[in-house]
Symmetry: none
Amino acid sequence: MRAEIVSVGDELLKGQRVNTNAAFMAAALAGIGVPVGRIVACSDGEEEIAAVFAESLERADIVLVTGGLGPTRDDRTKKAVRQLLGRGLELSEEAFATLAERAGQRGVEMTESLRDQAMVIEGSHVIANTKGTAAGMILLCGEQFQNHYLVLMPGVPSEMKAMMELTVLPFFAALSDTVICHTPIKTVGIGESTLAAMIVDIEDALPAGTTLAYLPHAAGVTLMISTLGREREVVERDNRTVVDAIVGRAGMSIYATREVSLEATIIAMLSAGGLTVAVAESCTGGLVASRLTDVPGSSSSFLQGFVVYSNQAKERSLGVSKEILEKFGAVSEEVARAMALGCLEKSGADFALSTTGIAGPAGGSLEKPVGMLCLAIANKTSGVLLSKTLFMHGDRELNKFRFSEAVLRELWESLRDIPVTER
Amino acid sequence: MRAEIVSVGDELLKGQRVNTNAAFMAAALAGIGVPVGRIVACSDGEEEIAAVFAESLERADIVLVTGGLGPTRDDRTKKAVRQLLGRGLELSEEAFATLAERAGQRGVEMTESLRDQAMVIEGSHVIANTKGTAAGMILLCGEQFQNHYLVLMPGVPSEMKAMMELTVLPFFAALSDTVICHTPIKTVGIGESTLAAMIVDIEDALPAGTTLAYLPHAAGVTLMISTLGREREVVERDNRTVVDAIVGRAGMSIYATREVSLEATIIAMLSAGGLTVAVAESCTGGLVASRLTDVPGSSSSFLQGFVVYSNQAKERSLGVSKEILEKFGAVSEEVARAMALGCLEKSGADFALSTTGIAGPAGGSLEKPVGMLCLAIANKTSGVLLSKTLFMHGDRELNKFRFSEAVLRELWESLRDIPVTER
């Protein structure tokens, strides 16, 4: 079984809304072993909707649609389906009863346009809408479309998600005989081509049904290992074999083999060791603190952050000496180390990190160009563990993000390298 | 001229990545008066890519593609285009020279796979990649495809965006005969329906060719006024008339009528007044500092940030008294005011803001639920200007963002309300 997704709505074609619905549906279908062949976004026009449905039904066994079921005049999905399949509308008694009950509770009048929300295409399997008004439909399209399925849902994400979980996924899971397994391999500090070169022979010898995808992002790359087959045991074994082989080869650059962020991994390591951290940031301007505090429960490990943009703030809040600042300049490993030590002392944390650099677009020089980062990591037991200088090549926001990723990577490595007993 | 967008990549079909690229490109094309007919996401398969390109080139004058240009073997866009158009590859001397220069600066070896990134389809107009390695291409597809254009760009958002802005948009804007004018009206602290009710009569009387769209986002709503026509003068006049009418009606909630962030607006106001700011953050965890320092040139106005998660940090770094913390609790307007005053004193800044609250998911209680925020604004002349308690209803990350937006809004209002001479 193979699916396609059609997202109806002019707002998608104007770029006024990002198509998060399609990603949700695709991931949900992957979870029940139904691969998605294409995702198409099209306009609200009746002819266009009908044309896109016809093309997708030709190629795919299941076509999932969102959008165009609402009460306003730009909602034309039902009209397009009536035209395409030559069927009429009928009232869903069940959907109508639910609507009437909810309207009664809220003291809303049962208008004609509200009643229309319970009108479904003849012969539909009705999908109850637990979060809104428009009824959804699963349609078996007849011989003209090789008995393929058309599924109509509203475009409001919460309504679609509830329909997927309560009705659509169980319906098609019962029909599917494919098992699928995805494992993300989250790397840090390694480029796409370096990684590819390290695992070229593993990639050449992938078992049948297993694919490997590189998902590059602003600060690195995630490898996605996907295996498809009929028997769960075989699928999971094949997937695990490839993941293990890659971890064996590139383990030093891998921080997780599940969907988790670098900052959440660090907070978990700190928390497991009963450790605390504080951060001293110049060029990252609070981004490192913000990323760490994005993690639920981070308050038990994250003590405090110092965003010290000016030299005066570095002196006053962290005790960095005027002499070091004048001799080496604010962007120097010497200052980064003094910031990390000052941060340890002022916060009382077990670990401290620091960043000082030039995010740009202004402020660079020949010796200290835009994109230059000095960082340091220190801990209570040993003082400064390391300091480092790196060069990035992005705009201001990208540099800030890559700076934050670089220092978090060093913190992760420092935590990983310390024997558990000494942490 | 009509466009379609094709996004290549299995990760989109598996729901592992949300297609934000397509929304960006669609909005950018709308900006130069080129409507988008369809957006298609397809797999990495060579045959599939070629089939999708052929179909889109049939329907649209311009087909914009992202993805499949990287150095790994799941990058098959160039192969598919060679097959489709029957053309070979050639080395782009310019792209190669840039690659070699950057590799030299970073001490990276010029490998075969890096060199491949400068290989382009014969007859391409090469699009320089200022943020990465893979060269982009604009291809005139010949009579077989009615001389329609195919544009190839990498899938990494920062690389694609730079290519769009520097090369692709100017290229096609020069070919388009439609004049379009968009004006965003950036609001703060007002809901969609309240705003709609305030301007209902303006919306009912829009001039022909002008549309008004509500673009709600995590912390509010932006109104987009779009006017389309043939004559620049008429288009700009009609657009301006509607914008002025809305500003006249809802001016107190509007911080800008151009594409600028709230934080950039604040930095510009501070900078114009020769003023400085410092921030004291608990529940926002560095996000306010990070947003302010995202603004180029913010270092002249932003002095310093204190991310004080623990009570001890609030005491030690900001001098908040133990008594206040114990009597009112960390999440209270009393503590918010003490934090703002301590921040003023420790930093020497002209303005200070503070946040203390409960981002969740844990840590809430009946009296102080998850989503509760206490904030304060203070300045050197008057001490505390205001403190306030607000309640949000999101998950942890959304709450953090809304908290940061709320306190920045208050700072913006405080700066706006103060006569220039007294700032």
